[in-house]
């Protein structure tokens, strides 16, 4: 990738970022190339039609074939970028994750929210999620915590009321209550 063309002139952090990205991109495209190759073979088993020259599998095979070619091209680019990047530089994977800890914590809480919703219902799950994420993002005490509480009640109860009463769309009630 062009990210690594002039690694030497960049700061150590950027250089490490480019090396890490090249590695991640390479692995990602290798995995996709394998997946799409398998799907390409599977699409060959889809039925053809008597009425048309192309069957159900033709278009997907066309797309999957092109995808594999692009994945291989991107993989080669990543290998190239990895080679050109400074070998003394570590990929800094752990530092990358630590730097983005709040984003991952927010996404993890969102996943927990989805898992919890069928059990405790939309309102309770939303309240816990809203309060939890605001707490993670810094609303720990005093005025900010109070605001967080008000926002959590307003948007968990309010959204439920809006959708069930106004739009007549029911949101999950929960199995436990």
């Amino acid at each position: 990738m062009n990210d690594a063309t002039d690694t030497a002139s960049r700061s150590p952090r950027e250089a490490s970022d480019a090396r890490g990205k090249a590695l991640a991109n390479g692995l990602f495209n290798a995995a996709l190339a394998a997946l799409f190759s398998a799907l390409f073979v599977q699409a060959g088993e889809l039925p053809s039609s008597m009425w048309e020259p192309l069957g159900a599998g033709s278009f997907p095979r066309l797309v999957l074939g092109a995808l594999v070619l692009f994945n291989v091209a991107l993989l080669l680019q990543s290998v190239n970028a990895w080679r050109r990047s400074d070998a003394a530089c570590r990929t800094g994977t752990l530092a990358w994750f630590i730097h983005r800890r709040l984003a991952f914590a927010t996404l993890a809480t969102f996943a927990l929210y989805a898992a919890l919703m069928p059990w405790v219902g939309f309102t309770v799950a939303s309240f816990l999620f809203l309060l939890g994420v605001q707490w993670i993002l810094g609303a720990r005490r005093g005025q900010r915590l109070l605001t967080a509480l008000i926002v959590s009640v307003l948007f968990s109860v309010g959204l439920h009321a809006l959708f069930s009463q106004v739009f007549l769309i029911s949101l999950p009630p929960g199995r436990l209550f």
Binding site: M1, E52, L54, F59, P60, L74, L107, A114, V133
Partner: protein, 501 residues
């Protein structure tokens, strides 16, 4: 339906109390959403979609257009008052509106932007009305060969324009086309790549893909930096004084700049993939080049604000031209509008204007109405704007994520859609971090079935593959597709060579 009947029917539907009320709410929501840094117009539109399911088609689309037109203007507020673009389409607005506000004229900066946005939207609506019907008349005459080539052209333009790497852009478009093949085959109804999973039987739910890609993954990106989370401090203090008529005269005193910037916006909006963010910068650049005093740009002059704001607002109407005339969305926002029509059972394509004339005229009228509503709302609520821009991200992000969950659940009321949303959000976040552009993926998903159907129809009509290259319009479009990629690759190679030197 005769034209006058269609027009009367659309007026009747549009000027009902329910539609006007929902449009007003849409305008307010759009302006507020775009004013909040980190909350984009696309997110606002995507989250409006589930709310419109219970509305009649025109009311639903008019509400979404109101959010869109409101959003095109709302980005101005944080750009002028905080120096932070509220949406990517107001980057150039910060160049002059912010210095003007810092120089003690925040009211004038906002006023100029609001009026310029209004006139930009107005010009784009006029061009839309003039250009879309004749284009649709030509489009109905296109055969499946031309249609397939047109989609290929649209996809290559999007992949080339968005992001830093054409290869990554094209890969994402293809990924979108593949995602669209999951579920039932469009001609024979054979299930494909469903692996026995019930949720996938009808294909990936488009709305869930949209919310996951454009909202969840982007929101996660917003909370990466702990220092930024406490932001929300207004940098402009003091009273906002607005003299609407004086400022309006100031905007109208620059007719050439206003018209040029609006037309730049319309044209860029109509090109697939290029939206408000590009129009805003190009309109500003063009105004600077044409100016007798280009050195004053960036110091807080009226010409800069007028060019950037009329440019980005005019993309709203421009983007609707290919959607209404050809059934091909010009941007992610238009793809969502198209999805809204499809959910309502309206088939989108060149026959839309003939089969649903009242709906299309209603959309034209809704553009004018929304532009007027945005103007009035912005002028009346100016003093509240400072407060809106100070809401911290630590509150915005969880609230919008909750709205995303509601959006995903509202379509089918299936909890599995919510799990899918979490997964797509995670994948979208990873893709964004690896510099993969997400817009080509979404356009690939929406254009996939149209591309496949036309390819198969073309070969059903005649098995000869060479027709794609020998029919003149189809060949022309394919040449344009190749050229769009070639020019971008050449530009990138030149950039790289310059960087090496």
């Amino acid at each position: 339906m005769p034209m006058t009947d269609a027009l009367l029917s659309s007026v009747e539907q549009l000027f009902s109390l329910a539609t006007i009320a929902s449009m007003l709410i849409g305008v307010v929501a759009g302006v507020i959403a775009a004013a909040i840094p980190g909350f984009t117009v696309t997110m606002a539109i995507v989250l409006t979609l589930p709310v419109t399911f219970s509305m009649p088609p025109l009311q639903g689309v008019a509400t979404m257009l109101a959010v869109y037109v409101g959003g095109c203007s709302g980005g101005l507020i944080s750009a002028a008052l905080l120096g932070i673009p509220g949406t990517p389409s107001s980057v150039a607005t910060t160049f002059d509106a912010y210095p003007m506000a810092r120089n003690g004229e925040p009211g004038r900066a906002l006023g100029l932007g609001i009026w310029a946005s209004f006139f930009g939207a107005l010009v784009s609506a006029i061009v839309l009305i003039v250009a879309a019907p004749p284009l649709a008349l030509i489009a109905v005459k296109l055969g499946p060969w031309e249609y397939f080539s047109l989609i290929l052209f649209a996809i290559t333009v999007v992949a080339s324009l968005v992001g830093k790497s054409v290869l990554k852009g094209l890969m994402m478009s293809l990924l979108g086309l593949f995602i669209a093949t999951v579920g039932q085959d469009p001609m024979m109804g054979v299930p494909r790549f469903t692996f026995g999973v019930d949720v996938l039987a009808a294909g990936f739910p488009f709305l869930v893909v949209l919310i996951g890609i454009f909202a969840v993954s982007q929101l996660a990106g917003e909370v990466e930096n702990p220092e930024e989370l406490r932001q929300g401090k207004a940098l402009i203090h003091g009273r906002l004084q607005l003299q609407p008529l004086t400022v309006m005269r100031e905007v109208l005193a620059r007719p050439v700049n206003l018209l040029r910037s609006s037309l730049v916006g319309v044209i860029i909006g109509a090109v697939p993939g290029a939206g408000g963010s590009i129009a805003n910068l190009i309109a500003y650049d063009q105004a600077k080049r044409a100016s007798k005093t280009p050195e004053r740009f960036g110091t807080g002059i009226a010409d800069g604000v007028v060019a950037s704001e009329s440019g980005n607002s005019a993309t709203a109407g421009g983007g609707l031209i290919p959607m209404i005339a050809l059934g091909i969305p010009g941007s992610a926002v238009d793809a969502v509008l198209m999805a809204a029509l499809m959910v309502q059972g309206v088939s989108v394509g060149p026959r839309l204007i003939m089969d649903n004339a009242d709906l299309v005229y209603g959309m034209f009228l809704a553009m004018f109405l929304a532009a007027g509503m945005v103007l009035v709302f912005c002028l009346l609520s100016l003093r509240w704007f400072l407060k809106i821009t100070t809401i911290p991200k630590s509150v915005i992000v969880p609230v919008v994520l909750t709205c995303c969950a509601v959006g995903a659940l509202a379509l089918n009321n299936r909890i599995t859609d919510l799990y899918l949303l979490v997964g797509i959000g995670l994948v979208g976040y990873a893709l964004a971090k690896l510099d993969y552009p997400l817009a080509p993926l979404v356009l690939g998903v929406i254009l996939g079935p149209i591309a496949e159907t036309n390819l198969r129809r073309a070969l059903m009509a005649d098995e000869d593959w060479t027709l794609f290259f020998t029919r003149p319009i189809s060949a022309g479009l394919l040449i344009l597709a190749v050229l769009s990629v070639a020019f971008t690759v050449r530009g990138l190679l030149r950039q790289r060579a310059a960087a090496r030197r």
